[in-house]
């Protein structure tokens, strides 16, 4: 709905929010003059969760992320756990569920508390242990007071796999599995950031889910045709990308989307659709219809997948669009364009 490829002269916050504006920025600025993609591989132009390079008869998958979450410690996790999980999950949804190694670069503001740093590193190591990953190299910088906000983390990861699963492999008739409840991370952060005195226990879902994705791939094999990590921009943004790149329409059954009651209540109060809220421990998995039940059962057997559900299906019509069936009627599911703002009126 916005002019494709339009980028303002000044880069506002919306360009980092994971929606259409960010994609326009990457297409117009980051990809300009990048040159050809690696031979026989997936490069930046594919704008997938990571890149894939052929190494002999296997694939080397690589991804990188910077983390600037505020507050750096939040209900359910902290920036350290977020950094490891984000990178491991990006690798996993490319089909690479056994991370070989991670890098971790840290930039701190002068005066950052050592105890906070120790806590963050403890979280990094704990999350690595959960994911079966190791930090093998890193970098440390300190900037002057006020030159950076507290702490910024950058992590990169590499992994090998036999088959890459892109986010563009959907065909009409395929089904979409969501591996658990939506909106937990974004609403926990929003409540902590704005000190919203909301009822209920809002906790981030931040976790490495490579084990869960591995279970799905083992159950579905070649019938797992597309995967995506619905982080910034939420499920809505991820589905729009999958629909557009695959050349299908997607219908989502709103009644089947798992949402925790406390997240729904907070979203209703603020006028925010849970489908556009960030997740940090979930995957959207596209499967051929014949394999959907087996893959779903395998995911549900995993401790992080007990709430998984088949939430949508792909159709020939309305290519690139995501349609929400509310149970009462249908509407277009909007792709988020910028920062989430509570409805104020």
């Amino acid at each position: 709905m916005i002019r494709r490829g339009f980028v303002d002269d000044k880069i506002g916050l919306k360009y980092g929010a994971g929606g259409r504006a960010m994609r326009a920025l990457i297409e117009r600025v980051c990809l300009a003059g990048i040159g050809p993609a690696p031979v026989d591989g997936i490069g930046l132009a594919a704008m997938d969760d990571g890149a894939a390079l052929r190494i002999g008869d296997r694939w080397l998958v690589i991804t990188t992320d910077s983390h600037v979450v505020h507050p750096i410690v939040f209900p359910g996790g902290d920036i350290g756990r977020l950094a490891v999980s984000g990178t491991v999950n990006d690798l996993a949804v490319m089909g690479a569920t056994e991370p070989l190694a991670l890098t971790c670069a840290i930039i701190m503001e002068e005066g950052f508390a050592r105890t906070d740093l120790e806590r963050i590193y403890a979280s990094i190591h704990e999350a690595c242990h959960e994911a079966g990953a190791t930090i093998v190299t890193g970098d440390t910088k300190v900037m002057g007071r006020g030159e950076i906000d507290g702490l910024v983390l950058n992590t990169a990861g590499v992994a090998l796999c036999d088959r890459v699963v892109p986010d563009s492999g959907l065909k009409p008739g395929d089904l979409l599995i969501l591996t658990g409840t939506v909106g937990d991370h974004g609403m926990a952060i929003m409540a902590a950031r704005h000190k919203l005195a909301l009822e209920g226990d809002l906790r981030s879902d931040v976790a490495p889910i490579n084990g869960l994705v591995r279970a799905a791939l083992e159950a579905g094999g070649l019938d797992v045709v597309a995967m995506k990590d619905p982080t910034r921009g939420g499920v809505s943004s991820a589905l729009h990308e999958m629909a557009e790149k695959s050349g299908v329409g997607i219908i989502v059954e709103e009644m089947k989307v798992p949402v925790r009651n406390q997240v729904r209540a907070a979203c209703d109060l603020l006028g925010i659709d849970p489908l556009v809220v960030a997740n940090e421990g979930k995957a959207l998995i596209g499967v051929r219809a014949s394999a959907a039940e087996d893959v779903l059962a395998a995911i549900r057997r995993h401790p992080l997948g007990s709430d998984a559900a088949i939430v949508g299906r792909c159709i020939e019509q309305h290519v690139g669009a995501v349609i929400l069936d509310t149970g009462l009627g249908r509407r277009m599911l909007a792709e988020p364009e910028g920062e989430l703002l509570p409805r104020i009126c």
Binding site: V257, I323, L328, R330, M332, I344, C345
Partner: protein, 381 residues
């Protein structure tokens, strides 16, 4: 699992029951077909009705022969440019302005309140009239409550006025009164509207009887409806029935909140503080008795009298070039749809609104941009 909890919760919510909804959708289709002509146009005059229609995807279920138009029911959208300018002029004088959220981004002649804030003006977003009082008590500076909205919010303003205001607080009333604008729409020579869905919130205050003279004058039915999906569907079924039977009357389909006489105490407070007067609504032109202004006995707290606000120069200001292409007025008058506007989704988006309908969370353009106005989303079954 949570999804199951939700299914159960939803099925218990009788106003969102999909089975009942389907039955009402079928009834709406039958009633519309029984009219034997198409299209028939009805209008609702409430942003919350449009929100619910969009959020639940109801527009996709309306029969092809029924055109449900969003009328001038968004209080932010119909606040006129000079009224925004008054707020901007006061803000630039150094006065604190307290107002409801969406008003801050509505374009005035040259600036919105948000633009004035970027220049250093003191603008405060509040969620209730009471918060304006709290703000005034927390400072010795002059505070102006830029009060917008229909009868529902006007009653809240009247209540704080009657409760006594701090001496440094005054009211800039841009409140509007809904019934007169329905007359305007009904009298437009090009109007196609054959019936109105009236807003349950406003009718809770005014009562259903307030619409009886209108029905008698224009021979158009009025159905008062609530804001749950089934409220709206049932309201539309009844409205089409009344059109089919050529029996113009007022029907209250929201009896759990609305009575014939309404909330008499609230009405008493409303008319004690305000008088209705003619004035411009953005895009609709002059609406006799459509504006609510403070009565003379409250002159001392009327910001228009407490401060000098010279807007004479602004009334004839040419709007920016883009704004001249904006068709918000036609959209609110029910003559056009958001997608008829060449700016829609291009130069005019929620991020960078040109017209007021794209600013407010109750504005037709913003709602259509967010949820899509496309009723035809089938083809896969």
């Amino acid at each position: 699992m949570p999804g199951t909890d939700r299914d159960q919760a939803l099925s218990e919510l009788k106003f969102r029951d999909p089975v009942r909804a389907r039955a009402l959708v079928e009834a709406l289709g039958r009633r519309t077909a029984e009219l034997g002509r198409a299209p028939v146009s009805v209008m609702h005059v409430c942003g919350s009705h449009e929100q619910a229609i969009a959020k639940f995807g109801l527009r996709s279920t309306f029969p092809r022969g029924l055109n449900v138009i969003m009328g001038p029911g968004c209080p932010v959208c119909i606040t006129d440019t000079p009224e925004v300018d008054e707020g901007v002029v006061l803000a630039r004088q150094g006065v604190h302005i307290a107002t409801y959220g969406d008003m801050v981004r509505v374009p005035g002649t040259s600036l919105s309140l948000a633009d004035a804030q970027a220049e250093g003006a003191k603008i405060h977003v509040i969620y209730s009239a009471g918060q304006a009082v709290e703000l005034a008590r927390s400072t010795s500076d002059q505070v102006v409550f830029f009060a917008t909205g229909f009868e529902t919010t006007a009653v809240a303003t009247a209540a704080v006025v009657l409760g006594g205001l701090p001496p440094n607080l005054s009211i800039l009333s841009a409140h509007k009164y809904i019934p007169p604008v329905m007359e305007i729409v009904a009298e437009m020579p090009e109007t196609k509207v054959e019936g109105f869905l009236a807003a349950g919130h406003a009718a809770t205050i005014t009562g259903s009887a307030v619409f009886e003279p209108f029905v008698a004058r224009h021979g158009l039915p009025v159905v008062i409806a609530g804001f749950e999906p089934l409220d709206i569907l049932a309201g539309l079924v009844k409205l089409v029935e009344l059109i089919r039977d050529r029996t113009p009357q007022v029907v209250n389909m929201f009896p759990r909140c609305v009575t014939r006489e309404g909330n008499l105490r609230a009405q008493e407070q409303l008319w004690k503080v305000f008088r209705s007067t003619g004035g411009r609504w953005r895009g609709i032109a002059h609406v006799p008795n459509g504006n609510l202004r403070l009565r003379d006995e409250f002159a001392s707290i009327d910001a228009r009298r407490r401060f000098t606000i010279d807007l004479a120069s602004l009334w004839d200001c040419a709007p920016p070039a883009l704004a001249q292409s904006c068709i918000c007025g036609n959209i609110m008058a029910g003559l056009s749809s958001p997608t008829d506007c060449k700016l829609f989704g291009q130069e005019c988006t929620p991020e960078k609104p040109v017209g007021a309908c794209m600013v407010s969370s109750e504005g037709a353009c913003k709602i259509w941009h967010q949820y899509g106005g496309h009723p035809d989303l089938g083809g896969d079954a």
